[in-house]
């Protein structure tokens, strides 16, 4: 990639961030509309009444564990499965009865599904040839596409002569060559090792922005979803539990499931003792303290709720802080030094274990605390979230 392209892309991302995203605009027409889609396999409900709007140029991640229905939903978009009930509209067109080979959709498979008997160039050209594109045009576009994924020099190789990362890029090139309106990616980075995955993530985002294709990515890896996505849909048991931007999914999970599935979290069970429109006070036996959260919730008095606090938002100290609320006492039970940060497991008097992570600002940071130290754990009132479900 040339440096001018890099600058171009940076400026276009900067421009894009200034605009209000389509999903926040009233009356914006979604590009992909999933309406009350249910898919049953015999008695088993794989996808349960899912409705979802995805907008043009989005990079939407469906995040969920295995068996959550995310792959089934993707296969319905590609046309390999048909919904038991509900509708799927792509660019305003109802996809019911439209065969996979007629949809304006392409898919990148988890196994890559490269044709082993065809060369890299022929694999990429496959889609264009089916469209009846002329020979010289095919050659030109294949060459362009291979250059984009930096495989221009490997066109004559067979797939089994390539490394995992190279095959991943061939699969991507092959699925993009027909300039689909919608690209579906099934665990696109799942087969790559950690380092390669991180590099490829950013490459994928660049390509998506450059081509302006709408991406729907299925993944079980929450880190991958956080880095890639414009929005994330968290799936569990065939249902979309929460749909939000990565930041909101992480900072404002709407349920215990999402809080625990995305990142790690400490949950304290407690009872609402004071419920103001803009704040809640919760008494928690488990935490051994009163917890105060500066956002309102809709709940009944004395309702049992959970307060969620992320490990990195907790401060750990030997000294008592100047706050009585959101302040716990405990004893360090385990320390894990991870280089960039340290992880502490602190046992509260109630028996509850709290996970705290601290960045190692200075070199001796990790040595300030040791096992069985009595410590105070505290956090700001706007760091935690109350979860009613």
């Amino acid at each position: 990639m040339t440096s001018s392209q890099v600058i171009d892309m940076q400026s276009s991302t900067a421009a894009a961030t200034k605009e209000v995203p389509l999903w926040k605009q009233d009356g914006a027409e979604p590009f992909l509309k999933i309406e009350n889609v249910t898919k049953m396999f015999g008695e088993f409900t794989a996808v349960d009444n899912v409705s979802l709007n995805i907008y043009k140029n989005e990079l939407f991640c469906l995040l969920g564990g295995s068996g959550s229905g995310k792959s089934t939903l993707l296969r319905m978009l590609a046309g390999f499965e048909s919904p038991t009930s509900g509708r799927i509209l792509i660019d305003g067109v109802d996809m019911a009865g439209i065969q996979p080979w007629k949809r304006p959709v392409n898919m990148m498979f988890q196994s890559y599904a490269l044709f082993p008997h065809l060369s890299v160039a022929d694999n990429v050209a496959f889609g264009l040839k089916r469209e009846g594109v002329g020979r010289s045009e095919v050659k030109k576009r294949v060459a362009e596409m291979l250059d984009m994924v930096q495989l221009g020099h490997l066109g004559k190789r067979k797939p089994n002569q390539l490394s995992g990362g190279q095959r991943q890029r061939v699969a991507l090139a092959r699925s993009l060559i027909k300039r689909p309106k919608l690209l579906l990616l099934d665990e696109p980075l799942g087969a790559l090792d950690k380092k390669l995955r991180e590099e490829t993530q950013f490459e994928l985002i660049n390509i998506q922005e450059e081509l302006g294709v709408t991406f729907v990515v299925v993944t079980h890896d929450q880190e991958e979803a956080m880095t890639l996505a414009s929005r994330i849909g968290v799936m569990n048991n065939g249902v979309i539990v929460q749909t939000d931007e990565p930041h909101d999914v992480y900072e404002y999970p709407n349920s215990r499931f999402v809080a625990e599935f995305v990142g790690s979290v400490n949950l304290f069970e407690g009872q609402v003792i004071q419920d103001e429109p803009d704040s809640v006070r919760i008494s928690s036996v488990e935490a051994g303290a009163t917890l105060y959260v500066n956002h309102g919730i809709s709940c009944s008095p004395d309702q049992v709720v959970h307060v969620a606090i992320r490990p990195e938002k907790i401060t750990i100290s030997h000294n008592r802080p100047n706050q009585s609320e959101n302040c716990l006492q405990g004893e360090i039970e385990e320390i894990a030094y991870m280089g960039s940060l340290s992880v502490f497991k602190v046992r509260l008097p109630s028996g509850k274990e709290v996970r705290v992570t601290q960045p190692n600002f200075t070199r001796d940071m990790g040595e300030r605390f040791t096992w069985n130290d009595k410590v105070f754990l505290f956090w700001d009132e706007d760091s935690s979230v109350v979860l009613t479900v």
Partner: protein
């Protein structure tokens, strides 16, 4: 390299000797000068020359090759379709029975296959006049029947190990099911089809029992001619003929194995 024990060497030598000593003896005797099969009279290619003068044997050989070629080709078409159904139809009622029946000819005694086919042909002729009499066409039908089972088994195994998402990927890229078969599925199972064809060809060339049941007068295949000649005493000519057949069969088997190996390499996952 690890030294192998004496026992293993002995076992290997014994096994190979048991398998191949008769064949080697046959090949050596085919170059015998003497007219008596059991007496060695020095090296000669005389009997090969005689063989090619013998019109009966040449005609039988040509007939056998023709039958083998046609029935192998028919068996490949039918066997591939059967293998396809078995691996792609999904679970259906009677799948177990069908797959059992398809492989039955592999284990059925040839005498029974031959007899039952003969009865069928006779009954068919009585009912609607076809096939009229036994001849080349009935042998081809009979050979196709049992060769098809071999092809079905080979193709089914190949399809079962093939990644089905390859077909989905082709559809996703705009290939209709009809063109999908020729663009993706067929090239991928081609090695299995080729080895199935070669296997069928050699099996058909070999067959004596079934052909004896379903052939008519003037339609003797090569194994039938050899068998009838041997009944009158083994001539050195037959040794020469047998040597040539061994060579052809060996080439067929080796080619089939090579195809299998090539296919395994092509589809092997790297790393």
């Amino acid at each position: 390299m690890k030294r192998r024990s004496l026992f293993l060497n002995f076992a290997a030598a014994g096994g190979f000797l048991f398998l191949y000593a008769p064949i080697i003896a046959l090949i050596i005797y085919s170059f015998n000068k003497s007219k008596l099969v059991t007496v060695w009279g020095g090296w000669s290619l005389k009997w090969y020359g005689e063989l090619f003068q013998n019109e009966q044997i040449i005609n039988a050989a040509l007939l056998s090759f023709k039958i083998a070629f046609i029935s192998a080709s028919l068996a490949v078409v039918l066997g591939t379709m059967a293998g396809f159904v078995l691996s792609r139809y999904g679970p259906f009622r009677g799948k177990m029975i069908l797959s059992g029946w398809i492989t039955a000819p592999l284990v059925m005694p040839e005498v029974i296959t031959g007899l039952s086919l003969l009865l069928l042909f006779v009954a068919m002729e009585g009912l609607f006049g076809w096939p009229s009499g036994r001849g080349t066409s009935t042998i081809i039908i009979a050979h196709t029947t049992f060769c098809m089972a071999y092809v079905a088994v080979v193709v089914q195994a190949r399809l079962a190990s093939m990644d089905e998402t390859l077909e989905e990927a082709a559809m996703d890229l705009g290939a209709k099911p009809s063109s999908l078969f020729f663009l993706v599925t067929l090239p991928l199972i081609a090695p299995a089809i080729i080895s199935g064809w070669l296997l069928s060809f050699t099996l058909s060339l070999d067959d004596l029992v079934i052909a004896s049941f379903v052939s008519g007068p003037g339609n003797s295949t090569l194994p039938m001619v050899i068998f009838s000649k041997v009944r009158l005493g083994v001539t050195p000519e037959v040794n020469a003929l047998a040597t040539i057949m061994i060579a052809i069969v060996a080439i067929g088997v080796i080619a089939a194995m090579y195809q299998m190996r090539r296919q395994a390499r092509l589809l092997a996952k790297p790393e």
